[in-house]
Each structure stands twice: as C-alpha cells, then as structure tokens.
C-alpha cells in the first residue's frame, strides 16, 4: 500500500467511525404535546408520547420541582380523583399484544404517599392494576373506594360492550404484576364482569352513596345506564374470594307506558333512604316524557312511571313540606313547557310549577342558605337560553306543593348561564358562567346579591380549591386576574407567554396554621414553561418563570 492509499484508507475509516452511534429517538421528535391536570398539591403533566408523567410541586419563592414517573403506554382516559389528591389514568397499553415486551392495558393510580411520609416535596407513587382487554371509559366512586372501566361505543376490533372491569381501590392489585401469580386467598383485583345483555350500550355509570334498603341493610350500587335499560350492580359483594361468586346484577328494561317502545335513559337521581322511606332511584329519558322511579329493597325493585308532560332536562329528589311520603318528591324540569313538575314517587301524583324561563338545570342549595326549616329544600334553577328574564331562579320547595306560583324567586342575573360552579368551603357562593365566556357572576345565595365580573375577551375560569379566590385568564392569551371572594376586587396580572391553563395548588411548606399557595400558569410553548405566582399575594414582581420543563431526557 502506498502513501496515497494510506491517506484514502484513513479518511474512509474516519468517515465510517464518525457515523457510528446515534442518540435515543426521544431527542429527534418535536416538543411533546402534553395534557395537564391540577391536583391539590401540584400539577400533573402527561407526556404520552414519551410514556412519562411529570409532577410539578410548588416550592417557596415561586420555584417548582419536577418529579418524573413512568406512565402506562397509550393512555385513553385521565381523571382527577374526587378529592383532588390523586390521578387515575386508564391506558390501553400496547394493544394488541405482539411481543413479550408489550404492555397490557391497565389503570394507574398516581397518589401522594401516606401522611407519615416526611419527604418534601412529597414523592408521588403509582399503583398499577392490570387488565386483560383495553377499555375506553373510567368512572371513579366519589368515595374513592371503587372504580369501573367500561367500553361504551365500540372502538376495538372485537369488544364486549357488556363487560365491566371493577377496581377495589382499597385493596392492592391482584395479581401484583402481569407475570405474578394470582393470590388465591383474596379476590382478584380488578374483577372483570360481563353483565346480562339485552343489546344496550353503556352510556353512563354512577356510583351511589350507601343506600338504606331496609332492615338495616346498606348497600352501595353501581348504576349503569345503557341506551335501553338500567342495570344495578351491588358493589359491596362485587369482589368475592373464589370459588364464591358475586350476586347477579339487576337490570330494569325501560319502556314507555303506552306502546312499550324502548326509551333511552339520560340521567338519574338517587335518594339514599331514611327511617321514613326506602332508597329510591329516579330516571329520566332523552326520548320520553315519563319519569321512572324505582323503590329499592332487598328484592327486585318496583317501578313507577309518571308522565311530566314533556321530556325532562334534569331531575332531583327534593324534600318539601307536603304531608305525604315524608315530603319526598322528584323535581323535574320540563323546558318545553317552561315548568317544573313535582312527582310523588309512590302515587305518581304531580304538581306543576310554572317558571319564568325554560330552565334546563337545577342544583340544590339548601345548606348554603341555612334554611330555618332544614327539611325543606331550595333549588337553584339555571340554564335557560339567552333572552330569559332571569338567568337563575331560586325555587323554595316549602311553598310549592299546592301553591306553585309563589315558589320561585328571581335573582337579578339576566344572562344565559352555561354553568354553575361551587366554591369549595363557601357554600353560600356560586359562580355563574355566562354563555360566551365574557362575563362571570358571583352569586351570594344568602343575600341574593349577584356581582357581575366582565372581561374584555372570552375568558376561562378556575376556582381555587381552598375557596379563597378565583382566577380568570384568556386562553392562548397573556391576561390573568385574581379575584378574591372576600372583596371581589380583581388583581390584574400578565405573563410573558400565552397561558393554556392555570392551577392554584398548595405549596410544599403549607400547613393549616400557615397556608401557602402558588398559582401555576402553564405555557405550552417550546418544551413547556410555567409562570408561578404567590396565589395569596399575587404580584408580578415576585413571580418566577420555570422553563423547558420537559427538556430533560426521559
């Protein structure tokens, strides 16, 4: 080999080695698209593309700390727990499974550690429940005892729409991992269950509170509304230790009272029962004018149908001062006749109350008003289309039965209300979201004072979990305002980057005696940024930016 060959050989070798090795594909992608969820003590950032969850905790001096957790593959549904402390992530895994390394479908529960933990900030822990098939929908029991996954509308190649997967959140997963053996001394967790099928597709599932079925028997039910029937599952016995089996569910097929046509459930109300009467369910339909009331007991429930004169848009069990049935009635709003109808559940006798507007929604606000006669309910009516005289009305049930026209008091809110938000820890306040997002109304139910707060642009609202204030911001804009519920004085703030979401979270050094909170404004630009304010004393001067939150490698 001559010198020229030597030089050429060396250059070729250099070129060859320079192309060796490559970095993980993670770095080659664009900035990941994430979804964010606010919890009591931080913000969860789901980076599904990279199978990770980043939990942001608020530190003193408006700083953030980030903790990474592995995330189940291909999350389909994410739900914040009712108490705001934890997060549930339903994932389809690597479905269909093709290799041993592929991940099964699962439910992941991300929660803070037990209160005995002294780690600051708290290290979130993940508990994973493994499933044999992917499901798309998740409902968590308000008491956080159970959860259920179900299929709903078909999305997989082959899917059993009558299958429910029940999770007992108070027990450890069994098996503990996809490859671990089943602990036969206790019930599997989760439990897969196929309900008796009449061809209905699940539409909505609801966990009830404990229902008094008489004779001291208290049961918790899972009520599944399909498009043609209603099924009740006893959750207290849903996790038997094999070879024992769970009691059969009860399915009530709904037909109208005239020609037997199947009707589609659209919502339900639950009465837990008391010493004066058994537990009951009331069901309204989207295509029928009847209200279906079920009396629950140890045996098969009995059913009553009551025609309310139009398709009801909302129902609730209410207490009135009527002498029969202990005053219990089903209140139904019928927008087509701008009325409300009170139904006596046993006799199906009705009382119609004319309303000033076709309200579509009602919320019970009895406790907020501190009503002198606590056995009589007060309902807030809202949801009328724009143009109504009053956007909301208070309906006192004590004077309704027999004297319907004197029962409704208009509150001075004339805009169309699209949502009514509770203020945690402050029941007498309601925040009314006016359609269009350019106005919010803080309604004091006791004084019946409605304070409108107008915005120059369509804005979004976030109420602090501690009930002290609310935040209004322009989505994709830089305008932000804090409004303290004590004086309703807006404090105008601004950020350098567009805001996608805001979360008011407890700081890691917060205690009951010395509370501290931070407002985290999320900016989905670059690799995710945030601006952090002192939520109790918002001031641009003390705010701080956290940048490139997802730039760190997986």
């Amino acid at each position: 080999m001559n010198r020229t060959a030597f030089v050429l050989f060396s250059l070729c070798a250099a070129c060859a080695v320079s192309s060796c090795g490559s970095r993980p594909a993670y770095w080659n992608q664009q900035a990941p698209a994430v979804s964010t969820y606010g919890l009591q003590e931080g913000v969860a950032v789901l980076d599904a593309d990279n199978n990770r969850l980043v939990f942001l905790s608020a530190l003193p001096a408006q700083q953030l700390s980030a903790q990474q957790l592995p995330l189940a593959h291909n999350p389909v549904t994410t739900s914040v727990s009712p108490d705001g402390q934890s997060l549930f992530i339903l994932a389809s895994g690597d479905w269909p499974i093709q290799t041993a390394a592929d991940q099964l479908p699962s439910l992941t529960w991300v929660a803070p550690p037990p209160s005995s933990s002294t780690t600051v900030p708290a290290t979130m822990t993940a508990t994973q429940f493994w499933m044999s098939n992917p499901l798309q929908n998740l409902v968590v029991d308000p008491g956080e005892h159970w959860a259920v996954a179900y299929a709903g509308a078909q999305t997989d190649f082959v899917q059993n729409v009558s299958e429910l997967v029940l999770f007992d959140l108070t027990q450890a997963p069994n098996p503990s991992s996809p490859t671990a053996p089943l602990d036969k001394t206790r019930s599997p967790n989760p439990v897969s269950r196929t309900l008796q099928a009449f061809g209905g597709i699940p539409q909505q599932l609801t966990f009830t509170v404990g229902l008094d079925l008489g004779g001291g028997l208290v049961r918790h039910l899972l009520v599944m509304e399909t498009n043609i029937d209603v099924t009740m599952v006893d959750m207290d016995d849903a996790f038997p230790v094999p070879p024992a089996t769970a009691p059969a569910e009860v399915t009530v097929r709904l037909t109208n009272g005239s020609d037997g046509t199947m009707v589609t459930p659209a919502g339900l109300a639950v009465y837990p029962g008391s010493a004066s009467g058994p537990a009951r369910l009331a069901i309204r339909a989207s295509n029928d004018t009847n209200i279906f009331t079920l009396v629950l007991g140890p045996s098969t429930p009995t059913i009553n149908l009551t025609d309310v004169g139009g398709v009801p848009s909302d129902i609730a069990f209410v207490m009135t001062d009527a002498p029969t049935d202990g005053g219990l009635r089903v209140a139904a709003l019928v927008p087509s006749s701008s009325s409300a109808v009170l139904v006596e559940p046993d006799t199906s006798l009705t009382t119609t109350v004319a309303l000033d507007a076709p309200y579509t929604s009602l919320s019970l606000v009895t406790q907020a008003l501190g009503t002198p006669a606590p056995t009589v309910d007060v309902a807030l009516l809202w949801g009328a289309p724009s143009g109504a005289t009053d956007g909301v009305e208070l309906w006192t049930l004590g004077s309704s039965v027999g004297t319907p026209y004197r029962s409704v008091q208009g509150v001075d809110v004339s805009q169309s209300i699209q949502a009514v938000d509770d203020v945690p820890g402050n029941a007498q306040l309601k925040v009314l979201e006016v359609a269009g997002g350019s106005e919010f109304v803080v309604l004091n139910l006791v004084t019946q004072n409605a304070a409108p707060l107008e915005t120059s642009q369509s804005a979004s609202l976030m109420i602090a979990p501690d009930g002290g204030r609310m935040w209004v911001f322009t989505p994709e804009g830089t305008n932000l305002a804090s409004i303290d519920f004590k004086d309703l004085n807006p404090i105008r703030l601004t950020t350098d980057l567009p805001i996608n979401a805001v979360y008011d979270v407890a700081r890691v050094d917060s205690t009951a005696a010395d509370p501290h909170r931070s407002l985290i404004a999320i900016h989905q630009v670059g690799t995710l940024g945030a601006t952090v304010f002192d939520a109790l004393d918002p001031n641009p001067v003390t705010s701080r930016r956290a940048d490139a939150l997802l730039l760190e490698g997986p």
Binding site: A13, V17, R23, D547
Partner: protein
C-alpha cells in the same frame, strides 16, 4: 465497534509506515544531521480529530455519539539521544456541534488548549512513532434555544481540566534533499489515537441575565472518551 475501527486505523498506519520505509534514504540523514548539530527542529500540525462521546448528556447536542474537531499544534524538539527524542509544544482543538432536539436548536462549543509532551522513536526514513501526553484546559459552552425561556436561550459556559494520552505514527510525505538553511525540511502524514479526558460538567442551564427564572437540568455532559486524529505536519 468504535474501538475496533480505531484499531484498524492504527494498524493501517503502522503497515503503511513499514512499506514506506525504503522510500527516502536521504531524509533521515538530513534530519539526523540537523538534530546532531543541535539545531532546533520545530513542527506545525494541522489535523482532524474525532472524539467518541457516549454520555447521555451529549445527546441534546448531537444526533450521534461523535464530536469532530479541528486540531492545530506546534512542537519543538527539546532533547534527543540516538533515535529517541523529546518534544513539547502547545495545541488547540476546536469543535462546534449542534442539533435540533425536541424542537429546540442546541449548540455545543469546545476549545481545548493543551501542552503536548511527546516522546519519539525514529525509524530512519520510515518515519517515527510517538507517544503523547497533553495536559491542559477545556472551555465548554452550551446553548439551548427554547421558546419557553426568557430571552429564548439557556446557556452555560465553563473552564475545565482536560488531558489527552495518545500514541501514533508519522510517515514522511516529502523531504527536502540536501542540507542547508531552508525553512521547510519535511512534510508528514501522521495518525494517532488514544483517550481524551475532560472533567464532567453538570448541565444546569440558566437563562441569561434572568434572576427570576429557573433553568433546566440536562444531566451531566461527559466529553471524555476515545479519539483519533489525522494530521499533516511540517518540520522546520
């Protein structure tokens, strides 16, 4: 894989050096004459250096595990005894590399200043083998441009201790015939390979001049690793 390729390069250098051994009987005589008379022999090198970086901290700045560099150095012979000699000098390696990572533009710049201490063994007109130790310092500067950052840039720069240890072989490409006072006496092709050490740097990047903004932690940047260098050199 990388080590194997580097060995092939070094073996090729050795083989070619031996085959070129008979090419130029007079070169060694001239060079020996200059050394024997106590004349100082200086060398200027210009080369290409490739470093292999396997640390994860390098991933945001390059699409592969390789850092190409420009390498410049000057040495002069300080002592000699028979076929053995010792030279020292200064060298500068410069690299700049970058990538698009998670949609961000990134850049890494490296300046390495070292003092090569080189022992040589001449093999007549076949050239010479050498072993080189080069302690020094390195200046690492990184930048990540991210829209979520105030001023759009996260940066960090730092001086760090660095050192190289390598061995190689130089083959004469051209030799001036006859003795005299001409400035240029030889042109060389040389290759060496070894290990380069740079103190690790924590990549806790911060926005420039932003007191109320946090940065990002990209882990540890470790540029230590094997390297090779291909150079041409001129002897005075």
């Amino acid at each position: 894989m990388k080590t194997r390729v580097m060995l092939v390069v070094l073996m090729g250098v050795s083989t070619l050096g031996s085959r070129a051994a008979h090419a130029d009987e007079g070169d060694e005589a001239v060079s020996s004459h200059r050394l024997d008379t106590g004349e100082i022999v200086g060398r200027f090198e210009l080369g290409y250096r490739g470093s292999f970086v396997s640390g994860s901290g390098y991933n945001p700045f390059s699409t592969n595990d390789y850092l190409p560099q420009l390498s410049i150095g000057v040495t002069r012979t300080l002592a000699w005894q028979g076929p053995w000699s010792f030279a020292a000098g200064v060298a500068w390696d410069y690299a700049t590399t970058g990538a698009t990572s998670l949609g961000d533009t990134t850049e890494l710049t490296l300046d390495r200043l070292t003092v090569p201490l080189e022992g040589r063994r001449r093999f007549g007109r076949f050239g010479y083998a050498f072993v080189r130790a080069a302690p020094g310092i390195a200046y690492e500067s990184v930048e990540v441009d991210d829209p979520s950052v105030p001023g759009n840039a996260l940066t960090k720069s730092r001086w760090l201790f660095a050192a190289d240890l390598s061995a190689g072989y130089a083959v004469p490409l051209w030799t001036r015939r006859g003795s005299g006072s001409q400035l240029l006496s030889h042109l060389w092709a040389q290759a060496d390979g070894g290990y380069g050490f740079v103190v690790d740097q924590r990549l806790n990047l911060t926005p420039n001049g932003q007191a109320r903004a946090d940065g990002a932690d990209l882990g540890t940047l470790a540029l230590s690793g094997g390297f090779f260098r291909l150079s041409v050199a001129a002897s005075l």
